[in-house]
Amino acid sequence: MIASSVSTLVERAEALCRDLRLQSVRDWKARTGGLAIGYLPVYVPRELLVAQGILPVGLMGAGADLEIIRGDAYYQSYICHLPRSTIEMGLDGSLDCLDGLLFPAICDVIRNLSGMWQMLFPDKYAHYLDLPQNFDRELGGRFYRDELETIARDLAARGASAPTPESLREAIVLYNENRAVVRSLYELRAAEPWKIPTWELYVVLRAGLVLPVTEHTTLLEAYREAALADTTRLPMDQARVVLTGSFCEQPPLGLLKTLERAGCYIVDDDFIQVLRWIRSDVPVEGDPLENLVNSLLDDAIASPTRYSDQDEVGGELVERVQRRQAEGVLFCAPSFCDPALLDQPMAVAAVERRGIPWTSFKYSENSGQFQVIREQAGTFADSIKLWSEA
């Protein structure tokens, strides 16, 4: 087999990311006759859907590729952009290949969007997935298991298979493989960021929102191999930064390229967290549904959307900075994003207590001008390289 070049793989992934009409999903449905269920950020247990023969399809807005006309008529000016483009895609037929949508508990805007969807598309399945904020297995665990069983029943009633322990275990294995290669790419980027530019990593990860998991794992492995084999990629004197705050509405690709061109190596980020929400492998042995539940309770990453028990808010961000040997933090949140922006003062305080440099800016998924951010990020990177103690 001839190894694919990085550019070929990235082009394919980018095309999948930008295909707002979800042609690959339509093709999959035509091929398999299965259901496709969409989901919004930040996390849904895709294993359950796959165990029911369903294609999970992640929606993260339309970026800068779609002119929003009807979507704006549903939201006031002070609401973020992602729900506008989601509504736009719903109304223009882009999402008509989806048999339903899951709206995970992330914020009040996405929560209320679940009700809007129920009214706009009464024939489609639309369910608010209430992720537990109590992490006690007997409390939040029991409730979450009930939630998963409800979803499984609802989807089975719409034509999906009922999940079996075997089908769940098979799905868990597939996603464990996917998580492993995602983790390895993050490790590789942290070690040799010049080999894995963030904008490339971003598109190959995001392609996983529409591809079947095995195809996505294959794509990631191929990309890893191709990037490692590319000897033209050489290190530059850039500042190593962790980017945080971009877990729901996504920054435009141009913004990511801008940050890297401005002198930043992004060595960790919050993008496409559904792929990394569970840190390690979900156990395969035993009750697989219980394993999915317990992994969410015990092994999920810290997030502004998840109640921080008694731990220091921002503690995990600091740990990531240290583990990735980053020199600074970019707080990069969408405008009007409650979880990110309410969290930010606490996270800023946590990094300041350790003397970690930081800067912050906001974006919208359809931002088109990056000059100001480029100058800000460039100045930040320069200040690290010129005056940092490291």
């Binding site: 009040d108 009930d146 409650d338």
Partner: protein
């Protein structure tokens, strides 16, 4: 457009308003003395509040939203918000939060001018608002005290399931009650809770009667601007207390008298003599210009006959009552049933029902920038309720406690246009 009257005058109040104001002032005074008297306090929220439980441990509730709205009404929120923003809080987020943080950092001087005690427990009842969760994470950084967290699931499919109820009951039993025992040093007394819940139900009966008195034409009450006074005791520190039972009994008697006399509601300029428009309002009021906002309605002869904001701390007009025979279950159902914990389709049904049952000419949405729990989706609510009722909807925008987002002339202009539209519809036989 009529000239804008910006004169600030004392609002004419009826007896119940004066009484509730005194109850709340007394509560703040008690809080201010708490360190001297040795009373302990719990910071918690209005939606999903567990007042009967808290007071059953002889703990005093402190409600940050109430502090914020009181600060807004007393002209202090601007500086508090400015301080929070200067210290790194985003201009995009909830101004209740920033007002509260700014107040804390300015000495935690409460609305009555006295210092509020630090909390002995932060009781995070996560009901109907995501921001609550972050708010108490922020407060946790300000205070050295334990936090108890009650996760109340959202009614995404428009119903309370057994699983939701059990989840909340189990948390109450296994997490919240032990945390209150720890904070108070007292054992949980189920009989005392039952007694309180029986009193809650009594007060709720009277409150519902008062709110539903607005079905009369003309209405004896304003269920939004006047309504915020009526809900004061039951939404704050007094649900389940004998004072609340007395207050709502007297309030009901007062409204009964108003009905008998054919009187309209009390407004900032006195009793409304002629009811020209009956409207339903969705969304919280603006607090920084509360009187001015109210006057804009009163000047047009507009009476709010039903509002959703008066259900934010509990929906009782659907038949729900706290139940001494099912103490934890009914507390769970109360939390699950608060207005902002309802799905959007349920909210649309509720507003549509109000428009019809209260014979409203139309409905207005006051969309506040601070509160996505209320605001996200309101433009769709507008369309859906119009479609279902055939009555015109109006849309105005302001904020809770950030005076920068209250544009009096714009709002007045919109309201006048809205009421003109209703008149034109009437003239055209539209209604």
């Amino acid at each position: 457009m009529k000239p804008l009257d910006t004169t600030v005058v004392d609002v004419l109040k009826d007896g119940s308003q004066i009484r509730q104001k005194q109850m709340i002032a007394d509560h703040y005074a008690r809080l201010a003395r708490a360190r001297e008297t040795g009373e302990k306090c719990v910071y918690t929220y209005v939606p999903g509040n567990l007042t009967e439980l808290i007071r059953g441990f002889d703990l005093l509730p402190v409600l940050p939203e109430i502090n914020a709205l009181q600060s807004g009404m007393r002209g202090k929120s601007r500086d508090y918000i400015a301080r929070a923003e200067k210290e790194g809080h985003s201009e995009d987020v909830c101004t209740y939060v920033k007002c509260d943080i700014g107040m804390k950092r300015s000495g935690n001087i409460g609305p009555t001018g006295e210092r509020l005690p630090d909390p002995d427990l932060l009781l995070l009842s996560y009901t109907g608002c995501f921001t609550f969760l972050k708010w108490f994470e922020l407060l946790r950084e300000e205070y050295d005290c334990p936090v108890a967290m009650l996760h109340v699931p959202y009614q995404g499919d428009g119903k309370i399931t057994d699983s939701m109820r059990r989840y909340v009951v189990d948390q109450l039993r296994d997490k919240i009650i032990p945390a209150l025992e720890e904070a108070s040093g007292k054992a949980f007394d189920l009989d005392r809770l039952r007694e309180s819940l029986a009193r809650s139900a009594q007060a709720e009966d009277d409150l519902v009667w008062v709110l539903q008195s607005a079905k009369n034409v003309p209405s004896p009450i304003d269920a939004y601007f006047g309504g915020v006074y009526y809900i004061g005791p039951i939404f704050t520190a007094f649900r389940g207390m004998p004072e609340a039972v007395d207050y709502y009994r007297e309030l009901r008697a007062e409204i009964e008298q108003r009905l008998e006399r054919g009187q309209g509601p009390v407004t900032p300029d006195g009793e409304l003599e002629s009811e020209r428009f009956r409207v339903v309002v969705e969304g919280p009021p603006n607090w920084t210009s509360f009187r001015q906002f109210w006057k804009m309605f009163a000047d047009e002869g507009a009476v709010v006959v039903a509002s959703t904001y008066t259900k934010v701390g509990g929906v009782y007009d659907n038949g729900f009552r706290h139940d001494p025979d099912r103490p934890l279950e009914s507390l769970a159902e109360y939390c699950l049933g608060c207005y902002t914990n309802l799905s959007l389709p349920t909210r649309v049904e509720m507003i549509s029902r109000y428009v019809q049952d209260y014979r409203a000419d139309g409905f207005l949405i006051n969309s506040v920038k601070s509160c996505n729990s209320f605001s996200a989706g309101q433009l769709m609510i507008l369309r859906e309720v119009e479609k279902r009722t055939g009555r015109p909807g109006g849309f105005i925008e302001s904020d809770l406690v950030d005076p920068r987002y209250f544009s009096a002339s714009n709002i007045k202009n919109r309201l006048e246009s809205y009421f003109q539209m209703i008149e034109q519809k009437r003239a055209g036989g539209g209604q």
